[in-house]
Symmetry: C2
DNA sequence: CTGTTAGCGCGTTCAA
DNA sequence: TTGAACGCGCTAACAG
């Protein structure tokens, strides 16, 4: 394994030129079936593996894709990122591509810059935490294919998005059909596109049901822990019977607050989340939520990236993946 | 940014040879301060960045380190892996190295093999989930520096380990000093080195306190969810006053079971974990546990790897990082 | 202190 | 169908 023989050695051993060997391996160019077979058998026998760097230098690419690693994160996003990474990895490995990691924070993209400027990758996949930041601005100024996973403020950027609007709409509709009368919604940062997407779905569910949403039960821009606590207090005071959370992070805090307030879920109040994660599954009771197929998202991102690099056609500017509504105990009518 | 000029262009523009430019940049070899300054200023002006692949080809290395990504995981390990990754990334980025990801599962290391055989990396860092498996066996057969993060069954492998024994010893001692009389311990896979390390610390704490451990309260090889449930039931039946969990995964399940059994923590029974993670922090009440500085572990692993690659001296075969005992509400005497 | 020459290992013209 | 020669961009050995 990991032998140190070169294409030259192979050529000499077989008494042919390296050109022929190269062609036999790559499949490009015409080689007789006989010699091709001879080459393929020999390289397997001696376990010859082409040197990726030399190949890259000659072809001016390196078969590496950069994936950004969120440097500042909350525990909830981890499973999202990990699943995405696994999806991307699975797809790329098949095609003999590899993943290079670039840690990126909101105000530090030096790692990404270095990797890109050093030409260590053929393309960049941006994960959702950074798509609003400096990263895209930087990539826009240079000649390097890239795409974004998640909602993205630019409409000239290739992106893989989730059906956040539709998911929120459907889940909310289901809750309304259960006859909850005072549904409240706790939102995080309203500047995030994903937030407004889900909020729109939420509101439209009311419209479709010909009901009106009591806007005093909408808690926007609730980012701090204490903010969430206050929102929950207020909602309870207003007699909410169902608290919907924008994401799993908020949901965890809401559950915590309900516990200290001695409110039982689902007996005293129902709870649902527009984004589910393993951390919510472990909760007792399990939480009704929307689930997104993260590995599929990763795969799709990887496939799209390779199409950008190798495909002849334009790739669609925006692709969207579905969701599942997962009904659990937290919204059960007791 | 990301200009496409080469070292040749720089040399010509400055009327000197590329060798001199190369030397001015790398710092290797003697160059007059004057020309060095001239070069450095010029490359900054035109934003020249050396092509990493060409450099790699010439130097027979590529300034990439492979980090294995656990393909099969439980949600708990995620924060561990992520923190490690951030630590490694931070250290390596400083030294102009990058991280290549290889997804590895217990019985599939083909991705790792490809990356290594293609010579896409200079070294490999194994993360804990795979250190018992095929990966090490493979790496032992070839000529590629590698190290393992976590306890490792081989004593000829460079490893970065945590002070699992000492941590378990100290935490258990503290619990004993609180006069809990019937401490039970729920363990996972006993084949894992980390498990036996912690178990030894646990037992030795009893010895040091001149107390004897009731072995009927030791639940070994509890791997399934139902197994954990049974262990908790049995422990409660035996009148346990404190349940110690081998890790955060087990702890989550134990807490869940206690909840369905209507046992309040810490009122009815105390709970502690030999491994803490964000998921336990969010619990109400917060759980007493051991915390390990994961980013430091990552940094240390990265530093050690670079020493293996560039250092002149041998690196220590085994380095160990400390821990913190975090006392929370779950073991408070009410 | 600097330049010349020769590779690193592979792909790719262009002839044959 | 094959091969010789050159180039990818850089570093290293050897002169000067």
């Amino acid at each position: 394994m990991g032998s140190n023989i070169t294409i030259d050695d192979v050529a000499k051993a077989l008494g042919i030129s390296k050109t022929t060997v190269s062609r036999a391996i790559s499949g490009r160019g015409r080689v007789s079936e006989k010699t091709k077979k001879r080459v393929l058998e020999y390289i397997k026998e001696v376990d010859y593996v082409p040197n990726a760097m030399a190949k890259g230098l000659a072809q001016r690419r390196n078969f590496n894709i950069c994936v950004t690693l969120p440097g500042d994160y909350n525990a909830m996003e981890l499973s999202f990122f990990h699943s995405i990474l696994v999806g991307i990895s699975d797809y790329l490995a098949d095609k003999e591509y590899d993943i290079l990691i670039a840690k990126v924070t909101e105000n530090d993209i030096s790692g990404l810059k270095r990797i890109v400027n050093n030409k260590k990758v053929d393309g960049v996949i941006l994960t959702r935490t950074v798509i609003d930041g400096e990263a895209i601005k930087f990539l826009k100024t240079i000649d390097m294919p890239y795409l974004a996973i998640g909602s993205c403020p630019y409409d000239d950027v290739v992106q893989i998005d989730s059906m956040n609007y539709e998911g929120a709409l459907e889940l909310t509709s289901i809750l309304l059909s259960k006859n909850f009368k005072k549904i409240s919604l706790v939102c995080g940062n309203m500047l995030h596109y994903v937030t407004s997407d889900r909020l729109n779905g939420f509101k439209d569910a009311f419209k479709q049901a010909n009901m009106k949403f009591d806007s005093s039960l909408l808690y926007a821009d609730v980012v701090s822990e204490s903010g969430i606590d206050k929102a929950v207090e207020d909602a309870l005071r207003n007699g909410t019977d169902c608290i919907v959370c924008m994401d799993d992070y908020i949901c965890t805090r809401v559950l915590r607050k309900l516990k200290t307030e001695k409110k039982k879920v689902p007996r005293d109040v129902k709870v649902a989340s527009f984004y589910g994660s393993p951390i919510l599954e472990f909760n007792v009771p399990a939480i009704t939520c929307l689930e997104y197929p993260e590995d599929e998202i990763g795969m799709l991102a990887a496939r799209t990236m390779l199409e950008m690099l190798e495909g002849e056609e334009e790739v669609p500017l925006k692709q969207r993946v579905g969701y599942n509504v997962v009904l659990k105990e937290s919204t059960k009518i007791v």
